[in-house]
């Protein structure tokens, strides 16, 4: 026999399960279409409004009532459609189950007939597993491409209405979702204050907090900490990364922002804003500490012990060794960690939604209210404008810019890490 009996078993099992799974996936996409086509073909559907929102809602209602998800219907027109829906769903469900079972059976028979002592079931199972794993990884890649495509599509629509130059270089942000969607006022779509707010909060204030604290905690943990201390502190730091960002948002809005305001008042400022870039940036910085420190920790720990010994044997103290040998050697990894942290910070939404304001403000004063790209995306998408209004579509253009920037940062960070790895192998 070319393969162990269990591999022949696996081979048959794969031939049964894989066609079934594929068909179920296909049917779950195709089925609803076939059902609604069937319903529309029924005589009861003749009275439906031709197209548009009303028609959709009637059909959705009838469908919900048919599968028992809704107790009754509001629209009388929907009542007539319940029965055709029920019938169509029943029929296509039956077809789906029948075809699935037949496919599984046929696959099993086909595989079973091929089993012979010299059949190479083992290599075939191996190949099939490889293909399944490949498909799994393709899902993530295809999703990324899908996100990118939908962003690009909506962004192009937006730039059809608003001049990209005005968007990218204008300094006044104040879209009016209630204005007429035709002929929008391009000068109200200047995104520079948003980009500035994002960079100021995420890449400047947050990093001023996160880089020194993250780096110092990494150095302490790798070089000075007793193993018992490390066993406690490191997981605690990692828990910080697991706190939901909305909780940081509360903390920023309810604790830090009022405290900053009180300090500003005490320092003699008149009427300081209760929503400040500083509050959002500080809390975001704390949130980012674990990202910086864990990358820095890994890259400092990856510097060979021989370097450290070499420096100590030259009569350097531990802190001289850290400053002159370990940190320079680990610098690429540290830089990559900082870049990942920045891309995380500028994409962060909840903290700034809760603690920063929605007022676009081009200012260098950290105590003033500022807004960020992500805040405006949320504001525009959940605003009152219709979906094809440029104010709503501007969210996609903002998202697109953010996507490109974080993609670029991640790309550079990964390249840096890769070069760093090569250096020690």
């Amino acid at each position: 026999m070319a393969s162990l009996p269990s591999y022949h078993g696996w081979y048959v099992a794969l031939w049964i399960v894989v066609p079934m799974v594929f068909f179920i996936a296909l049917w779950s996409v195709l089925g609803p279409h076939l059902v609604s086509q069937h319903v529309l073909a029924s005589p009861a559907a003749a009275d439906l409004p031709a197209f548009g929102f009303k028609r959709e809602s009637i059909m959705a209602e009838a469908r919900a009532a048919a599968i028992g998800a809704a107790p009754g219907v509001f629209n009388e027109e929907a009542r007539a459609l319940i029965e055709p829906y029920r019938e169509a769903i029943g029929r296509y469900q039956f077809i789906g189950i029948a075809v699935t079972l037949v496919l599984g059976f046929l696959g099993g028979v086909w595989a079973f007939l091929r089993i012979k002592p010299d059949f190479t079931a083992r290599t075939r199972v191996e190949r099939t597993i490889m293909v399944i794993l490949l498909l799994a990884s393709l899902v993530a890649i295809l999703t990324t491409l899908g996100i990118f495509a939908s962003l690009v599509f909506e962004t192009i629509r937006f730039f059809g209405m608003v001049n990209p130059i005005d968007f990218l270089f204008g300094t006044h942000w104040g879209p009016d979702p209630m204005s007429s969607p035709d002929n929008p006022d391009s000068s109200r779509y200047g995104a520079i204050p948003l980009f500035w707010g994002t960079i100021y909060i995420g890449a400047i204030i947050a990093m001023v907090v996160a880089i020194p604290l993250g780096l110092m905690s990494a150095i302490y943990l790798t070089q000075y900490a007793d193993p018992r201390v490390r066993a406690w502190v490191k997981p605690a730091l990692e828990i910080l990364a697991g706190v939901p960002t909305v909780v940081y948002g509360y903390f920023a809005a309810l604790t830090v922002a009022p405290a900053i305001r009180d300090v500003a008042l005490a320092a003699g400022m008149s009427n300081p804003s209760s929503e400040s870039a500083l509050a959002a940036g500080l809390v975001m910085g704390v949130m980012i500490i674990p990202f910086v420190s864990s990358m820095a920790d890994d890259s400092i720990a990856a510097v060979p012990q021989a370097m450290r010994d070499g420096s100590l044997a030259m009569g350097a103290t531990t802190s001289e060794t850290i400053r002159r040998v370990l940190v320079p050697a680990a610098l690429p990894g540290i830089v990559a960690g900082v870049m990942l942290a920045i891309s995380r910070a500028i994409g962060e939404t909840m903290i700034v939604v809760m603690a920063a304001s929605t007022a676009a403000n081009l200012s260098g004063n950290p105590l003033e209210a500022m807004t960020t790209v992500t805040v405006q995306i949320v504001a525009m998408l959940t605003g009152e404008g219709s979906f094809d209004h440029p104010a709503t579509l501007s969210a996609f253009a903002l998202g697109f810019v953010l996507f490109l920037v974080t993609l670029g940062l991640n790309f550079i960070a990964l390249r840096v890490v890769k070069r760093f790895r090569e250096a020690y192998e």
Partner: protein
């Protein structure tokens, strides 16, 4: 059992002396009451099978064992009459006086120049760029590396070949003008040609510095050293002139080891 010291040792001048030194890792005893005088003007070789404690003992001489949290040293080690384990001893100064070269070449990921300048900079040995340039050149010359690297001092030290890297590490140790140089199997990662160059270098450095070398190769010990100590199971079994140890060992275990019966 007591160490056998050959009677015809005439070492009047001892650079370092160990008296009843024991080293523990946690509860495990790695070195068992070793006493030895390291002469000023000679190369001393520590030989013995793997795990016999020779590297551990070497690392007690510049207190590199301090970097291992579980290690504990008992007994007395004296450098020029000063106990190096006394509490007021400045370990940083000690390591500047007792330099070390490791088994695997470990140049810093910096330029060749910066590798050599590292020690002088942290100890403040040079005033101004010119003096530092001078130290770098002298150290590289003494390590026999100057002619190979003088045109590319700004290249990374890690870009050199293994043998060149090891000579760079020796030059780095020389740059702070130590009195003793400890070498922990300095050739075990090198090919025979690079090994020959290092051995030649050790010969040239002999007399200027007290050198202690740990080696697995008995031929190497015989070639480069004038004093040899044989370690076995944490104890120093026999110590004497290299020629005596290799031609006329007094202990059975030493004889077995150097004739290749075990180890």
């Amino acid at each position: 059992m007591v160490t056998v010291i050959h009677p015809n040792l005439d070492d009047t001048e001892a650079k370092m002396s160990a008296r009843d030194v024991s080293v523990y890792y946690g509860d495990k005893m790695a070195i068992d009451h070793v006493s030895i005088d390291i002469p000023t003007k000679y190369v001393t070789a520590f030989i013995g099978p793997s795990g016999c404690g020779k590297s551990t003992f070497l690392r007690t001489l510049n207190r590199m064992n301090d970097t291992i949290p579980s290690a504990r040293v008992e007994g007395e080690i004296v450098l020029d009459g000063e106990d190096i384990y006394r509490s007021r001893m400045d370990v940083v100064q000690l390591r500047a006086r007792v330099g070390m070269v490791f088994q695997k070449p470990n140049p810093f990921p910096k330029s060749i120049y910066e590798n050599i300048a590292y020690g002088p900079r942290i100890h403040g040995l040079a005033e101004g760029k010119q003096e530092l340039d001078g130290i770098v050149e002298t150290s590289l010359q003494r390590a026999g590396l100057w002619n190979e690297v003088k045109d590319r001092l700004d290249d990374s030290g890690t870009a050199l070949s293994g043998g060149q890297q090891q000579r760079l590490c020796i030059a780095r140790a020389i740059a702070v003008d130590p009195e003793v140089i400890l070498m922990d199997e300095p050739c075990s990662a090198l090919d025979p040609i690079a090994t020959a160059k290092i051995e030649e270098l050790i010969d040239e450095l002999n007399g200027r510095y007290a050198i202690v070398i740990v080696t697995h190769s008995m031929q190497q010990a015989a070639r480069v050293s004038q004093r040899t100590a044989f370690f076995h199971l944490g104890k120093m079994v026999e110590y004497g002139r290299t020629s005596d140890i290799f031609t006329n060992p007094l202990e059975e275990r030493t004889k077995d080891y150097i004739t290749g019966r075990y180890g």
